[in-house]
Symmetry: C2
Subunit: 196 residues, 2 copies
Amino acid sequence: MAKIKPGKNASKRDLITQKAAALFKKKGYSSTSMRELAETVGVEAPSLYNHIGSKSELLQTICFKVANAFTGYLESAEAANGSSVTKLEHTIRFHIHMMLQNFNEVYVANHEWKHLKEPYLSNFLIQRRSYEKRLIGLVENGIAAKAFKNVNPFVSVLTILSAVRGLEFWQQPKKNISNRVLEDDMVNHLLKGIIK
Amino acid sequence: MAKIKPGKNASKRDLITQKAAALFKKKGYSSTSMRELAETVGVEAPSLYNHIGSKSELLQTICFKVANAFTGYLESAEAANGSSVTKLEHTIRFHIHMMLQNFNEVYVANHEWKHLKEPYLSNFLIQRRSYEKRLIGLVENGIAAKAFKNVNPFVSVLTILSAVRGLEFWQQPKKNISNRVLEDDMVNHLLKGIIK
DNA sequence: CCTACCGATCGGTAGG
DNA sequence: CCTACCGATCGGTAGG
């Protein structure tokens, strides 16, 4: 057996994945060709397959990296001390941070998941639905504790997740609004809308 | 010159456009083939071209139909009597109605516009940016009139538009929430978040 | 990591 | 509205 060179190989695969995320975001998964990806990486197309299995594997890697990050954070937030309001606020802030710091990957996970192949497509959707249900549970706890208004928790979570996701349209340094103002204004808008 | 049969031809073209919107929404623009579209229409692929110019023309029709509907409504809302709060509320409700009643078209306009060809791509983005600026103006008027909190109007509009757009994820009759509850809860969440 | 190449599929045209 | 077909491009493999 050949000696494994995890550092070198992993970093090359990571580079390819990162470039793929940028291209998938810019042009969409289907409109991105492996030849185009190869060009941005600096090799010929067939050479990519020494590092990756297939085009769809790249999409899987990106989508589940994002999904696992969100799931992992929510688990830790649920386990932490604090009120439902605090937990929801922290989760909203985590979403905003993810959007601002992993722009391409989150965008691709949000937009291109439908091109996942089975069984990954089903697994992704199951994981996302489970995440939403747990967030809804958080809002329900807040309502039961009289901290939130008596709103429909499903609509609240939909509103919050959608609003935060809208940071996709944030043309980074275009407006002279700091990330801090952006984050605080959005958190306030969304929390004040449901806090009693 | 042959006699024009606008009714018949227009309705066939409309049918093709409607089927295209459903497919573009389900699979994405690039992943939808003209052969597939032809099959859902019930003809062979080359026959489509008796009614339409090209695949990209279908995308243009869908995107600008949606964009023009929003622009047209905002113009009428601006011209109407009433406070900034009322105008903003009506506009939010119009967005929700559009999402619920023209699901496929709005979805495609939101997700697939990047596949528009020039000069349509630029025109679409210009129109959208203009729309956002006018909405921001509405919020600024509300702030000046002391009706809204002193928030960043850009962030407010981003939050509102994104939240409303999230109705894309509304799996129609799945949850036992009426459209009325959905609309009112979301409007309240978004307005109460910025009203003084 | 490359060159050479394959079978499949694409949007669209010719011609009737 | 169809059959027949074109040139281009696709993801991926063979072989070294």
